[in-house]
Amino acid sequence: MSQLKYLVIYLSLLAALVLMILPLPDWVQIYRPNWIALTLIYWSMALPKRVGLWFAFFTGIILDTSLGTLLGQHTLPLLLIIYINLNLYQRIRVLALAQQAIYIFVLLLIDQVIVAWVEGILGRPTPLLTFFAAPFIGMLIWPWVFVILRDIRRKALLR
């Protein structure tokens, strides 16, 4: 029973994955926030002992397979931002949501830049301006993600 409540973590990540591969019109695609990164950052902030680097690694591999990218292309930046988060979460957790959002923007931007960087190496350069769109939307969405996942976490009695 005590293990069962951790199921909500997996379910929330699954929901995030669905949001990542849900078909959208072409012009909206570049605004799609990285739901997986947002969800992972939340859990690693709330339960850093449980959701750490290995968690990020396996989530990333699944994300890469679903998106059809190179295995590791989304995993590497996820690892990096979760690593940064694991070092900073104690300071970030106490900030107001609006301040947290700025931190989230920076993390998402790092993620985005690394993914685009690998695309560039593969010969698919991405227009520079599109870098900022998705992290920006992610930043705007963060307070809601935070509140929703926090309520879920409290309902599931995870701490």
């Binding site: 699954l14 994955l17 591969i21 078909p23 591999i61 699944i62 397979t65 679903s66 295995l71 695309e119």
Partner: protein, 272 residues
């Protein structure tokens, strides 16, 4: 409080995993070893993919359900008309095919015309927005294999790059990583058409300035390289630009296939 040892442990772990990721990317890019990992994860996730494509499928289904009687009659009528036209054309085609076979026999060439195909449907799954990959609902259990060419009603769409038991990933001819050997129908000049990342454009680079090319020339697969079967329509020339200094011509062409809107596709199985 964290001790220094703990922090170092996490850092080491992060460095190790990041290094592992880089190694994995290189291996995945250059070799096929990780295909098995990809296939297994894809298989485990396939219910999710069907779930995601459900709204689109459900939408179509509802649409069909609520189409009014008169509309159905109209559609039926127009389809019948189209059927008549097509069968009329087919008669002509059959005669041509026979004639072609006879002539080929005369020439002693053994090439057959019919290819075996598998009908597949696109799964509405968005992948990486920067690369031109699509997913179809047929996989290795239906006979689809890596490298098979994929066409729609109008021309070549791409080729299979990953196969799972129930689905497959197609790289479109417009992907910047993709190149397809082509031939001009009119002049017979052979070349290679590269994708440019836009579904409406292919590029043919470094053609000799003396090549006989005109706007509106049709391009078909040349069959060289053995990946794509020969003589399928690929593109139509839209622009020709000359590099006077180096004496090359580069050509832009518009793909025949509806790369961004076709829902039903055919996978061509190469003849044994």
């Amino acid at each position: 409080m964290k001790t220094i040892i703990e922090v170092r442990g996490a850092t080491l772990q992060a460095l190790f995993l990041i290094g592992f990721c880089i190694a994995m990317m290189v291996v995945d890019h250059r070799f096929q070893h990780l295909e098995i990992v990809r296939t297994n994860i894809s298989l485990a996730l396939s219910p999710l993919r069907y779930l995601v494509s459900l709204p689109a499928t459900g939408g179509n289904w509802l649409n069909d359900w609520f189409t009014s009687h008169t509309e159905l009659l109209e559609e039926n009528e127009s389809l019948k008309a189209e059927g008549r036209i097509l069968s009329a054309r087919l008669q002509k085609l059959e005669i041509l095919a026979e004639e072609n076979a006879r002539l080929r026999n005369l020439l002693g060439s053994s090439r057959k015309i019919a290819d075996e195909v598998i009908v597949a449907e696109l799964l509405s799954v968005d992948q990486n927005p920067y690369s031109q990959l699509i997913e179809i609902n047929k996989g290795s259990s239906d006979g689809v294999a890596m490298g098979h060419a994929v066409i729609d009603d109008f021309g070549i769409m791409g080729q299979v790059i990953h196969v799972n038991p129930q689905s497959a990933t197609i790289i479109l001819i417009s992907d910047p990583e993709h190149a397809i050997p082509v031939q001009f129908i009119r002049s017979g000049t052979r070349s290679v058409a590269f994708g440019r990342g836009s579904t409406r454009q292919l590029e043919l680079r470094y053609l000799p300035a003396t090549a006989d090319i005109m706007v509106d020339d049709e391009l078909v697969t040349s069959g060289l390289g053995g990946r794509f079967p020969p003589d399928y329509p690929v593109a139509r020339v839209t622009a020709i630009s000359e590099d006077k200094v180096r004496g090359f011509v580069s050509v832009l062409a518009e793909p025949k296939a509806r790369l961004d809107s076709s829902r039903e596709v055919l996978v061509i199985k190469p003849r044994q």
